[in-house]
């Protein structure tokens, strides 16, 4: 997108916002739930409140994880219970910080302060916080132990831990270890060095912008510059994020007049850009339009930082022999190591379940918490539920998914406490506001049907400025003041 257009767009945005008495900067800080609700088509808080009937259900509820999923669920339960007894176990004092803003920081559009929030300020009234980390689970005895040695008993347990970022599986980055999106990630930053970045942590998003500017300057100086982007072989939170940073880098290069000296190449592990064919087709079209190259079935396995080489496990398929029983040709998978030089390398790391979950009786063989995909109840322990990124659900790990899960979980937990049938059903809805440029977003919404499920009467495969406004201005207040209060 040209700078002239950006300026024009920003001017229009300012005009639009000024109607509501807001400057662009202030909008981020001051926009409230009503504004967000207007853009999202959601009901108002007061209307929602009228529908809530409180229950006398009793029991000690412990929630592991104080991020968006954990706190939203706690808030919802608080709204719906007369005498809630809820404890959240979360060591990060800023666990509710707004992670969807990482891409905006990485593109220099927001600053770190725009997304950092203290958990204390969002803790629902009456909810207790244990600022420790749960490290051992004994579901047979309804107990867990924290890293401070405290044994906590519960009647009902909600697992909302989120994921760990497994950088250490990449050869050459072993010292990075496993990281969390929030908290101190100095060790990771040091391991990545000054040419590798990742928007999957808050520190990483700040550093991404620094490194991006450095290599945009290099391209601007006339030197051919290779920008390489990856997508791992595990489910990841916000599957759109690895592509968003591609688009935003492209936008900043164009704005700087340096695009012709830059080569942007995306290496996804999978065989498509998106699980929904309609969105896949749209993204392929956008990549072609912007001259962004891509190579499917490439998984980053090694980084040679000294020589600036990324090594991929590249896979492809060849036509195999005729199968006389199936009366069809077989498909033979092939693989080889492929070495790719880079100047700027953006890594979307493998996402895995926290070790303490994976190694407990609460985790599945793959580590995630096995739950009924509709009720969110654990498949073995009926008093355990799970939500968000750590739940083993065949659906994208996004805040948009959580928005549709936490009310279902709260309803079902209360039903279980009251010994009633679990009627709440998560329908698999999720949303990915895919930033395709500074000023445009394709709002990819879908559910179990793997078909677009647009909330607006507009072609969902079209990139739109109105969805950019929603992403930049409305989603954060809706999340921070709507979801985290258990209402939106």
């Amino acid at each position: 997108m040209e700078k002239q257009y950006i300026d024009k767009m920003l001017l229009e945005m300012d005009k639009d916002l000024s109607k509501h008495g807001m400057s662009r900067r202030d909008a981020l800080k001051l926009a409230g739930l009503s504004g967000a609700g207007l853009l999202m088509g959601t009901s108002t808080a007061s209307a929602e409140e009228e529908k809530i009937v409180k229950t006398d259900a009793k029991g000690k509820i412990v929630i592991i994880g104080g991020g968006l999923a954990g706190v939203s669920t706690a808030a919802r339960l608080t709204l719906k219970m007369s005498n809630p007894d809820i404890t959240i176990i979360e060591p990060n004092p800023q666990s509710v910080s707004y992670q969807p803003g990482y891409t905006m920081i990485a593109a220099g559009l927001w600053e770190k302060d725009d997304i950092m929030y203290d958990t204390d300020e969002f803790l629902p009234e009456g909810v207790k916080l244990i600022p420790e980390r749960a490290i051992y689970f004994n579901p047979q005895e309804n107990q867990l132990t924290t890293d401070a040695g405290q044994v906590v008993s519960y009647d009902y347990l909600i697992l909302a831990t989120g994921v760990q970022l497994d950088f250490e599986r990449i050869k050459g980055l072993e010292e990075a270890g496993r990281a969390l999106s929030g908290g101190n990630n100095d060790k990771l930053m040091e391991a990545l060095g000054d040419s590798i970045c990742s928007i999957y942590t808050e520190q990483g998003s700040v550093k991404t912008w620094e490194i991006m500017q450095k290599y945009i300057e290099q391209a601007k100086s006339g030197k051919k510059t290779e920008f390489v982007f990856t997508h791992p072989d595990t489910p990841i939170k916000c599957g759109g994020a690895p592509k968003k940073i591609v688009y935003l880098t492209n936008a900043r290069l164009k704005e700087a007049g340096a695009r012709e000296n830059a080569e942007l190449t995306f290496y996804p592990n999978g065989g498509a850009m998106f699980g929904v064919p309609e969105y896949h087709d749209a993204i392929v079209g956008q990549f072609a339009r912007e001259n962004i190259k891509y190579h499917y079935r490439h998984n980053l396995i090694e980084v040679d930082k000294e020589n600036k080489i990324a090594v991929f496990d590249a896979k492809w398929q060849e036509k195999g022999p005729w199968d006389p029983v199936m009366k069809d040709f077989e498909v033979i998978p092939k693989r080889e190591k492929k070495r790719v030089p880079y100047d700027f390398l953006h890594i979307a790391p493998a996402n895995i379940a926290p070790r303490e979950i994976a190694e407990s009786d609460l985790g599945s063989a793959a580590g995630w918490v096995p739950v009924n995909k509709e009720t969110l109840q654990h498949i073995r322990y009926m008093n355990v539920f799970s939500i968000g990124d750590v739940a083993q659900l065949p659906m994208a790990k996004t805040g948009g998914s959580v928005r549709k899960q936490y009310k279902v979980l709260a309803d079902n937990l209360i039903a279980h406490m009251n010994e009633k049938k679990l009627e709440g059903k998560y329908a698999g809805y999720t949303v990915c506001p895919l930033i395709t440029d500074i000023g445009t977003v394709m709002l990819a919404e879908f559910d179990w049907t793997v078909k677009p499920t647009p909330s607006f009467p507009l072609d969902p495969t079209v990139e739109r400025w109105i969805f950019w406004l929603m992403k930049a201005y409305a989603l954060k207040p809706m999340t921070m003041y709507g979801m985290l209060s258990g209402r939106a």
């Binding site: 072989d233 595990t234 029983v325 040709f329 998978p333």
Partner: protein
Amino acid sequence: MQIQFELAKYNEELDTFDLDETLYQVEISEEDAQTYELLKSSDLNLYNWFIEADFFSKYIKEEVYPKGQHKKIAVCDINDISFRRFFFFKVTSGDSHYAYFKKLFNIFEESDWQDREEIGEQILEQLKSKRLELVRDLTEDEESESETEENTTVESDGKV
């Protein structure tokens, strides 16, 4: 009307199927022909009707596996409609079989990250139970026939 079909024999010990490699033909009544026409485009409904049909049981008992040859069988093909994928699918099978099973088993493919191999393993896992639903146990038929015969004999003896 005639229906052509092929069978697979189920090896319970190894949990595998072997192709019978004989093309069988069975004559069906007008009423069964109408049912066939109604079900021929509905895949597993056709399979379930066919394998439970009286004409099929009779034909198998008289022409294919006479009494004494206890077998568990499945139907691979009914005319041009193939069910072989249920019994012989493997990870290297062609893409059309993947597409069929992903839809049947409601496997959501987040193809940003999932490998063909991983989806293939998921399909095989689901098939473990699904294909057993499609097996016809001829042993049960014979046991139930024997019980009927025994009861009949007792009744006759009692009357005498």
